[in-house]
Each structure stands twice: as C-alpha cells, then as structure tokens.
C-alpha cells in the first residue's frame, strides 16, 4: 500500500481521474466493448480514436454513467460508479462537463439560459453572479453578444462553443468531448481543436475526447487510445502512434496521410 507524506494510505488511482478495467458491454448478441482497459491522468488530454461503430460513444457513455457495463469497473476519482444508484451517479456527474456531438443545447432556451442552466440547478448564486459567470464562460470560448439567441440561430461551430461554455460553467474536474469536430469545416475544426487545447491549459481540467478525426487527435492529445471492434489496439503518445506497427493503426494513419 502506498502512503502519503503524513502516513495515510494513498489511493492507487490518486493521479488517475478515470480508471477503466475489464469493461464489457453487449446489446443482445452484439458485443460492442470487449475488455477495455484505460487510464486517464489528471490534467491531461486523452483521445479515444476509432472508426464509426468501433464502440467509442458506448465507452463514453459508460464513463459518464449513462450506461452500465455488463462486466468490469469504471472508477472515477477512486469510486467505482458501476455500483452506484441513480442518486450516487448524479453526484459523480457533477464532476464532469460534456460537449455532445450535436451540442445538445436546450432548444427552448436562449444561449444565456443554456449556459446558466447548471448554475441555476446546482448553486444558490444570485442572477448577477450567474450573469457574470455566463459571460466569463462565453468569453473563454470567444463568443460575445449572443445571449438572447436561440440554438437554431447559431452555426454548428458556435453551438459547439456554447456547449463547451455550458460544460465548464461549474468548473468541472473533467470535460468530455463526443466527436467535437464531426461535420465541421476545416477552419472551424482547427478553432475547435484550439478551444480544446486552450480549455485544458487555462482551466487545468482533464479532457477526454472521442473522435475519428486523426488530425485533431494528433493535435490535441497527450495520449491516444485507438479502439477497433470494441478493443483498445494501441495506447500511445501522438509521436509514438505515428511510429506504430499495429496493422489497423498503420492503415488508419495511411488513409489520413493519403488525404493530406
């Protein structure tokens, strides 16, 4: 047992925010996750890279507790969330912010109300304090003067930014991004990549990015886990991944380099 300087037992996961061990998940006869093992260290940007249907989104939903694995552990901040009830899961989720693929903004609310929503639900801050914090978060993602707009009036890139502003408004420990650059043009993709890097550095959060965009993955990641048919086939830094000898990773990289 490791011990801290004052002699108290130190959790083996003390530097690890998310620890996934032996996770399996099936839907009927179809096995989607087949023994996933993954660690995400505090303050880093972890990318889970794979093609469509490889199990990335299912893995993300298991991390956040929207699904429960058939077998295995998902340990968040030292707590196995697979054993928690709904009330316990709600408490764990307060440590997370998530940016969904389609942003998942509430379309009956304005931009201001969307970003203010978590604060109004979980804090007793005054409306003046909420307004200040909302504008602060919108400024972090480089959005100004759009408080009264509705999500339907925004471009895809702007919706992603508002989604991120909402995700960080309660200062979470970890931000999850589900396919953040899917469907975006190259310029907007680049700005979203910079937004992820900037958020990670400025706010010192842990970031987990689910993506099939290898260019973005290489740009933002500290470590990349490549998932194929429900299994992690490679787990490396961007530099190590470029040198990987795994056939699937080589094919994946080859397709991307060909397009460049």
């Amino acid at each position: 047992m490791r011990r801290s300087f004052d002699g108290r037992p130190k959790s083996r996961y003390s530097c690890v925010v998310i620890h996934i061990e032996g996770v399996y998940k099936s839907f009927g006869e179809h096995a989607v996750l087949k023994g996933i093992n993954l660690d995400v260290k505090a303050g880093t940007t972890r990318v889970i890279l794979g093609v469509s249907g490889s199990g990335k989104t299912v893995l993300m939903k298991n991390i956040i507790g929207l699904m429960r694995p058939d077998r295995g552990q998902v340990v968040i901040d030292g707590e196995d969330i697979t054993k928690l009830d709904n009330a316990g899961l709600l408490k764990v989720r307060s440590k997370f912010g998530m940016v969904f693929q389609q942003s998942a903004l509430f379309d009956s609310m304005t931009v201001f109300d969307n970003v203010a929503f978590p604060m109004r639900e979980h804090t007793t801050k005054s409306e003046d304090e909420i307004e200040a914090r909302v504008h602060e978060c919108l400024a972090v993602v480089d959005l100004h003067n759009i408080d009264t707009k509705f999500p339907s009036e925004l471009s895809g890139g702007m919706r992603k930014r508002v989604g991120l502003a909402r995700a960080i408004v309660l200062q979470p420990k970890c931000v999850l991004y589900d396919e953040p650059t899917t469907g975006l043009d190259p310029l907007t993709t680049e700005s979203v990549d910079q937004m992820i890097i900037g958020t990670n550095r400025r706010l010192k959060v842990t970031s987990v990015v689910i993506s099939h965009d290898i260019g973005s993955a290489l740009a933002v990641a500290d470590r990349i886990a490549v998932i194929n048919k429900g299994e992690i086939v490679e787990d490396a830094t961007p530099e190590e991944l470029r040198q990987s000898q795994h056939p699937f990773v080589q094919e994946f990289l080859h397709c991307w380099f060909k397009k460049q």
């Binding site: 956040i64 929207l66 709904n86 709600l90 989720r93 912010g97 998942a104 903004l105 639900e121």
Partner: protein, 267 residues
C-alpha cells in the same frame, strides 16, 4: 400438419402481442412510480408546473369549449326526437346533462386533450431524446424525469378536471340554447327536471374519471417521448402511439372506473 403449423404460428403471434402489451404496461407503471418518487423531494420547480398548466389548460380551452357546446346542442337535438315518442321531452335537459356530467364530459375532454397535449408532449420529449438533450440533462446531474415529467403530470392531473368542469358548463348552455331557445321546450320544466334528477355526485363521478384521464394522457405522452429512438421517424412513431394508446387507455379506464365507482359509490 400445415393446419397445425398455422394454428401454432397464430397462437405464437397472439402470445407475443400479449407479452409485448404486458411488458409495455409494466414499463409505463414503472415510469409512473419513478415520476411519483421524483415528485416527493425538492426542488419543486413551480414555475415549470405553471408553464405546463397554462399549456394544458389555457391552450386547450378553445377546443374544449367548442366541443362541449356542440356536444350539448347535438345531444339535445337527438334526445328530443327519442323522448317525444314517449311524451317526455321535458326530461331532455336532465338526460343530456346527466350523460355529459358522468360520461361525455370527462371522456370527450380527455380525447381532445390527448390529441393536442399528449401528442405535443411526446413530440417535445422525443425530440429532446433523439437530440441528446435528455442525456445532457443527466450528465449535468439533473434528473430529467423530475425536471420534465413531474410538472407535466401534475399539470394534467389538475387542468383536465378543470377543463371537464368547463365542458360540462358549456354543454349545459348548449343544451339549454337548443332545447328552450330553438325547440321551445318549457323553460321551467327544463330547469326543474334538472334540479330534480341530478345530484352533485353525478358531477364528481365525472371529475374522478377526469383526474385519472389527465394523469394517463400526460404519462403516456411523456413515456413515449422519453423512450423515442431512431431520429425523426422514431419521434413521429412515438407521437402517433401516444395519441392512439392514450385514446385506447381512456376508453378502457372509463369502463373500469365506471364499474368501480358504481360498485363502491352508488347514487
């Protein structure tokens, strides 16, 4: 052998349908229980309840008043034809209002509200489900059942009986207008027969039903929307099912509740 195979397949099909219906009923009951449990603890979000009450109540007012007025008027027209054959046309007011209060008021109000409110709730929540807004709510540690379903359920339980009372009132007005105003039935006899034959219990009989109908309409609409999947097509199917199943549930529950109320609370 072929005949036996056909019979076997037919029985299997019927069996599968029955099992699916029972499974769905159980899932809806589970969803109802989860909603009730969620309603017991704070925050209570009264602002959301009032928004939904305005939508269910005020928004359905025109259609309910229109339906009630014409129901009273048409039923009076038809009833006079029958009652004149036995010289009892002065009984038309009490006959119509008795039927409206106990049966037509709660059932027709519920059917109008199902078409408008049930479908709207299924569409709204279904769209939220397929666009991951409900997932986003869960990720933000907000119970979506507590936030979305509880205000709608209570709005239905309170506003549908209010609408039923208004339906009964305008049906009375419609019946009076046609009976006394157009068909020249004696006004005194018309009113006296109503006072003689109707009991306040006849109206509460209908209101007990309308409370249950209000809960069922909103519950089924919310359940179908909450569990929609498969994009726009899935939302469309959820909306259709919410209206169809809601309407069937109203007829079935009407029979069940009438039997129970007559048995345990006879006039």
């Amino acid at each position: 052998m072929k005949a036996l195979d056909a019979i076997s397949r037919g029985l299997a099909f019927v069996g599968a349908l029955v099992l699916a219906a029972l499974s769905e009923t159980g899932a809806v009951a589970n969803f109802f229980a989860r909603t009730l449990v969620a309603s017991l603890s704070p925050p209570y979000r009264l602002n959301l309840f009032f928004q939904q009450a305005e939508f269910v109540g005020f928004g359905s007012l025109f259609i309910v008043l229109l339906t009630g007025t014409f129901t009273g008027a048409v039923f009076t027209l038809e009833s006079v034809q029958a009652l004149q054959r036995v010289g009892m046309e002065s009984m038309v007011g009490s006959t119509v209002i008795l039927a409206v209060a106990r049966e037509l008021g709660p059932v027709l109000t519920a059917l109008m509200v199902t078409g408008r409110v049930g479908s709207s709730m299924a569409t709204e929540l279904g769209t939220m489900r397929v666009s991951e807004q409900i997932d986003a709510m869960e990720v933000m540690a907000v119970d979506p059942v507590k936030y979305l379903v509880v205000p709608r359920l209570f709005a239905g339980a309170i506003m549908v009986p209010c609408l039923t009372m208004l339906f009964d009132l305008v049906a009375c007005v419609g019946s009076y207008g046609v009976g006394v105003g157009i068909l020249d039935i004696d006004e005194g006899a018309f009113v006296e027969r109503i006072r003689w034959y109707l009991d306040p219990y006849d109206f509460t009989h209908g209101l007990w039903k309308s409370i249950v109908f209000g809960i069922v309409i909103t519950l089924i609409g919310c359940y179908k929307g909450f569990h929609a999947e498969g994009g726009a097509r899935g939302v469309g199917m959820a909306t259709t099912q919410a209206v169809v199943i809601g309407s069937i549930a109203i007829f079935v529950l009407d029979y069940v509740m009438t039997s129970v109320l007559i048995q345990f609370m006879p006039v």
